[in-house]
Symmetry: C2
Amino acid sequence: MEFPNTGDFLAGRLRDKLGHDDQAYIESLISETREAESGEVLVSRGTIANSSTILISGYVFRTIESGNRRFIVGIHVPGDFIDLHAFALKRLDHNIVASGPVTLGIAPHQRLRTALEEKPRIARALWFATLLDAAIHRKWIQMLEQLDAPRRIAHIYCELHRRLELIGQANNRSLRTPFTQIDLADMCGVSAIHANRAVGKLRELELAEIRRGDLYTSNWDALREYAQFDGAYLYSDGPLRFDQDWL
Amino acid sequence: MEFPNTGDFLAGRLRDKLGHDDQAYIESLISETREAESGEVLVSRGTIANSSTILISGYVFRTIESGNRRFIVGIHVPGDFIDLHAFALKRLDHNIVASGPVTLGIAPHQRLRTALEEKPRIARALWFATLLDAAIHRKWIQMLEQLDAPRRIAHIYCELHRRLELIGQANNRSLRTPFTQIDLADMCGVSAIHANRAVGKLRELELAEIRRGDLYTSNWDALREYAQFDGAYLYSDGPLRFDQDWL
DNA sequence: CGGTGAAGCTAACATGCATCAATAGACTGG
DNA sequence: CCAGTCTATTGATGCATGTTAGCTTCACCG
């Protein structure tokens, strides 16, 4: 199977968690790839799917619509399964939307089913991915409870930077995204105007310059300290610590 | 195995998801029960465990300590596994603390391992529980992004009421908890003083009276509407919609 | 019975954020 | 090249919430 312009996409979340054979096996679950445009709704709340999706390139949001406003409750980077829930729960309680152009891999549920039956290590890795999603959600909850708007934005970029680092796609001085200030506002639970002021504050403090979603900084450490970012919740220090006896 | 004062505790989250045989099987995973006092730290951040814990009676919080303040990022009710992560991730990125006196069931990882190998339906149900945790977390994120403090408190009680209803422990006119206003503040990400104002506002609006953690209301519907509570995210409408072909 | 500490409550002032209004810049399509 | 739309920016005003301080109520216990 060919993945145009993406290289070794499954370097993603499961990197170091699986051997090369298993990674290749997961890639073989993908029956086809697909491009989608910015803003396209990839998975709608309530629909029932026969396949799950892995993000190969670009960013996607998990969004919840409520009272004619949209809220972003999660972000995914390449290598993430974005709708494993659809496999287990069938219907989803939120939408999944492309932020900027994306490339997706489609994994039919039938192939996933076979994989789970025949490769216990795959099942383990997918469960790990689910637990990691939950850990990231908990961090967002704490971030929303604790931080003001400028720090929330800084924290989101710090988290993304670390997650990109784990898949070998981080840059020392910048982090390019297609996010608008409205997107940032919907992530932080503030108004777009206030998101603008928060971006302005990061600029004023000379911690980061955010232009059209792209963040530029000369000092990630200072930015991380300002955002009180500690990446331990990403469980990225070395290989998966599953009990070796399990399966 | 006897569970004093708890009755059919596993009516919990997996109710309707498993047959009676499987429920009995899960209960058999529990090697012993244990009581704990209010405030006791049941699982510490970073420790490595050889067993997982199921909550039999009482409430527990997931907490994250940061900058000499505590934040609550999740609540559990009887029937919930509270540290399945410990099984898959070994160490946890947060603490688990008793709110009020609790009864716990201890499930050694070795028995869990056997269960996952031999009973695919159990593995499926535990994965479902994990996905449900993530869905609840996403709802909290949206709640923090969208609602003001009085509505956040109302939403938390509405969610708990529904979750208790699912295990047959809900009451028509009240919801009794051991939560202090400080606890409510730590859930909502506001100061204790403001949590007090928020409680006062619910009283003033005649939506609910909250005294020492116990909520009394004559009109749950009005409270739910005020909090914009829609319980669809709890995936409780009928039996689990796993693909019947899977395993 | 009265002391003690935790929890709940109130007031006054400071700051964060929402909202409205208006404008400027950037991209897009005709 | 212009018009239209989406995005970014700024200022003014009011509400939501933080902070500090002090007070009250209640459960518990000596």
